[in-house]
C-alpha cells in the first residue's frame, strides 16, 4: 500500500546569521504499510515522527533535503502525485489544532473536506453532519468556530474531516493528546474502525500504552532511524520477544510495568548518544 524506502531528511539549522548546518531528521528510514492495519509509530519527542508524516504528505518546508523513495500502491509518490492525492486518498490528522480555519464554522469546514474528496455539495453537507454526529459533537459544536471548541472537541473535528474524505491512508499525528480517557478511547476506536474497513492507518504517538490495544504492528523510532518493527502482541510481560534494547527499555519504563531503567537501557552507547544530544 505504502512503501517508504531509505528515506532521509535534512533540515537547515542556523547557528548564526551566516552559518548554516544541516540537521539529519530522518536517517535511511524504511517501512511498508499494508491495507487494513493500524501501524503505530512510537518514539520520543524529536525522533522525527511528525516529519515522517509531513514527508509522506509532501508538506515539508522548501529548504528541506529529502532523499529516498516513496511508493503508493506500487507507483512512486512524487510531488505531483502527492498534490493530487492529498485530501482525497491521503489524509493527515495534524497534531496542531491551529490547522482548523479560524473563520469558518465546524460543519462547513468538515463539508469542505468532503467536497475536496469529490462529493457534491449537498452530499458533502449530509456526510459532514453524519461524521460530526458520529464523533458526538452536538448541534452547538457543529455551528461553533474553532476557538469556541475545547481541545478534545477540535481534535474530534479533525478526525471527522479525515473520516469524510474517504481516504485510503490516514495518518493520525498524536490524535489522543489532551483528551480524557473516555474521549481518547473514542478517537482510537474510530481509527481502528477505519482500518477494519480496509483502510491503512498510521498512528503517530509517544503514548505506547494506549496505542497497543488498537495497533497491529508497532514501529519504534529513535533519532530518525527505525529501531524495530514488532507485532503489537510482542509488548507484553517482560518484553522478552522484543529484539532491540531500546524497545525493551521503553516498555519497561511504563508505570504499569517496572517503572525502572533496566540494565540494557544504560549501555555505554546510549549514554554516549545522550551526551552528544
Amino acid at each position: 500500500m505504502l512503501t517508504i524506502d531509505q528515506l532521509s531528511l535534512q533540515l537547515p539549522l542556523y547557528a548564526s546569521w551566516w552559518k548554516r548546518d544541516w540537521a539529519t531528521c530522518l536517517d535511511a528510514f524504511s517501512l511498508t504499510l499494508s491495507p487494513g492495519e493500524v501501524h503505530a509509530v512510537v518514539g520520543a519527542s524529536g525522533a522525527g515522527k511528525s516529519l515522517l508524516a509531513y514527508s509522506i504528505m509532501g508538506l515539508l518546508p522548501t529548504p528541506a533535503r529529502l532523499n529516498g523513495q516513496l511508493y503508493y500502491q506500487g507507483k512512486p509518490l512524487d510531488d505531483i502525485r502527492q498534490r493530487q492525492l492529498r485530501g482525497r486518498e491521503l489524509a493527515l490528522i495534524p497534531q496542531s489544532l491551529s490547522a482548523l480555519d479560524p473563520l469558518v464554522r465546524t460543519q462547513r469546514q468538515v463539508a469542505w473536506a468532503a467536497q475536496r474528496a469529490g462529493q457534491s455539495s449537498a452530499h458533502a453537507w449530509r456526510s459532514s453532519q453524519q461524521a460530526l454526529d458520529h464523533y458526538q459533537l452536538d448541534a452547538r459544536a457543529q455551528q461553533a468556530y474553532a476557538h469556541e471548541l475545547s481541545g478534545g472537541m477540535a481534535r474530534r473535528v479533525l478526525t471527522a474531516m479525515a473520516h469524510v474524505s474517504q481516504a485510503k491512508l490516514v495518518i493520525a499525528d498524536e490524535p489522543s493528546v489532551g483528551l480524557d480517557p473516555h474521549q481518547r478511547q473514542r478517537v482510537l476506536a474510530a481509527l481502528r474502525g477505519l482500518a477494519d474497513q480496509g483502510k491503512t492507518v498510521m498512528l503517530i504517538t509517544h503514548d505506547l500504552r494506549h496505542a497497543l490495544p488498537i495497533a497491529d504492528r508497532v514501529t519504534i523510532m529513535r533519532n530518525g532511524k527505525r529501531v524495530e518493527t514488532a507485532p503489537a502482541n510482542a509488548f507484553q510481560g517482560t518484553g522478552d520477544s522484543l529484539t532491540h534494547d531500546y524497545s525493551k527499555a521503553l516498555w519497561q519504563a511504563l508505570p504499569d510495568n517496572h517503572f525502572s531503567t533496566s540494565e540494557t537501557s544504560r549501555t555505554p552507547q546510549l549514554q554516549q548518544e545522550a551526551n552528544v544530544a
Partner: protein
C-alpha cells in the same frame, strides 16, 4: 506544611468549581491528585501556588499567607513548557531567572550545557520540560505542584524526569502534589492519592 482551608472557587458566570475544599501537604510528602477533565485539578494547583485567589478560604504555608514577592516557596509546573518560557530568551537566561543551578544539578536533570546558548524553540518538549522543572527548584522552594508534567513525554524520558525529581525531593524534603490522569503513574509515585470530583476531594 502547606495547607488549604475550606477553599471555595468559581469562575465568573459558572457554577462553583471547588466547594469547601481542604487539603494538607507536608514537607517530603508525595500526594497524587486525579479527576476528570474540567473537574478543577489545575485550578486547585494554581490556587495552592498563589496564581489564583479563592473566593473564600485561604492557602497558608506554616500558618502564614503565601509571600507576595520574591521567589515563591510553592511552585506550579504547567503541562506545556513551551508556554511557560520567554521565546526571546536563551535557555541559560530562562534557567537563571530564579536561581543558578550547579553543574551537578543540571546533570541530574539531564540538562546539557550546550542547550544554554540555544533558544527554547530548538529544544524538544521533553528537553524543555526538564529545564522548566530545574528552574522551579530554587533553594527557597519547598513545595511543587506538578500539573501533568509528563503526559507529553515518552516512557523513558518520563521515568528519568521523575527519578531526578524524586532524588531532589528526598534530599530537600520537598512536598510534591502530582496531578495526573494516569492512575498507574500516581500509584508508582504517591503513597497517598486523592480524587477530585464535584468540587470535593475523596481519598483513594
Amino acid at each position: 506544611m502547606l495547607k488549604a482551608h475550606q477553599l471555595r472557587f468559581q469562575f465568573a458566570n459558572s457554577a462553583p468549581l471547588l466547594r469547601a475544599l481542604s487539603l494538607t501537604l507536608n514537607a517530603g510528602q508525595w500526594l497524587g491528585l486525579s479527576g476528570d477533565s474540567g473537574a478543577g485539578k489545575s485550578t486547585l494547583g494554581k490556587l495552592l501556588a498563589g496564581y489564583l485567589a479563592p473566593q473564600t478560604g485561604a492557602v497558608t504555608l506554616d500558618g502564614a499567607a503565601l509571600p507576595k514577592s520574591g521567589v515563591q516557596p510553592v511552585q506550579w509546573l504547567p503541562q506545556s513548557p513551551e508556554l511557560a518560557v520567554n521565546p526571546r530568551w536563551r535557555v541559560g537566561k530562562i534557567l537563571r531567572e530564579a536561581w543558578t543551578p550547579s553543574d551537578a544539578q543540571c546533570q541530574a536533570f539531564g540538562v546539557q550545557p550546550s542547550w544554554l546558548s540555544r533558544f527554547p524553540q530548538s529544544l524538544s518538549g521533553g528537553e524543555l520540560q526538564r529545564v522548566c522543572v530545574l528552574r522551579a527548584l530554587a533553594p527557597e522552594v519547598r513545595f511543587l505542584v506538578a500539573d501533568e508534567i509528563s503526559t507529553m513525554l515518552d516512557p523513558i524520558t518520563q521515568l528519568e524526569l521523575w527519578q531526578a525529581l524524586k532524588r531532589e525531593a528526598e534530599q530537600r524534603q520537598l512536598g510534591v502534589l502530582v496531578i495526573s490522569h494516569d492512575s498507574a503513574l500516581l500509584e508508582r509515585l504517591c503513597p497517598q492519592r486523592l480524587h477530585l470530583s464535584d468540587g470535593q476531594l475523596t481519598s483513594i
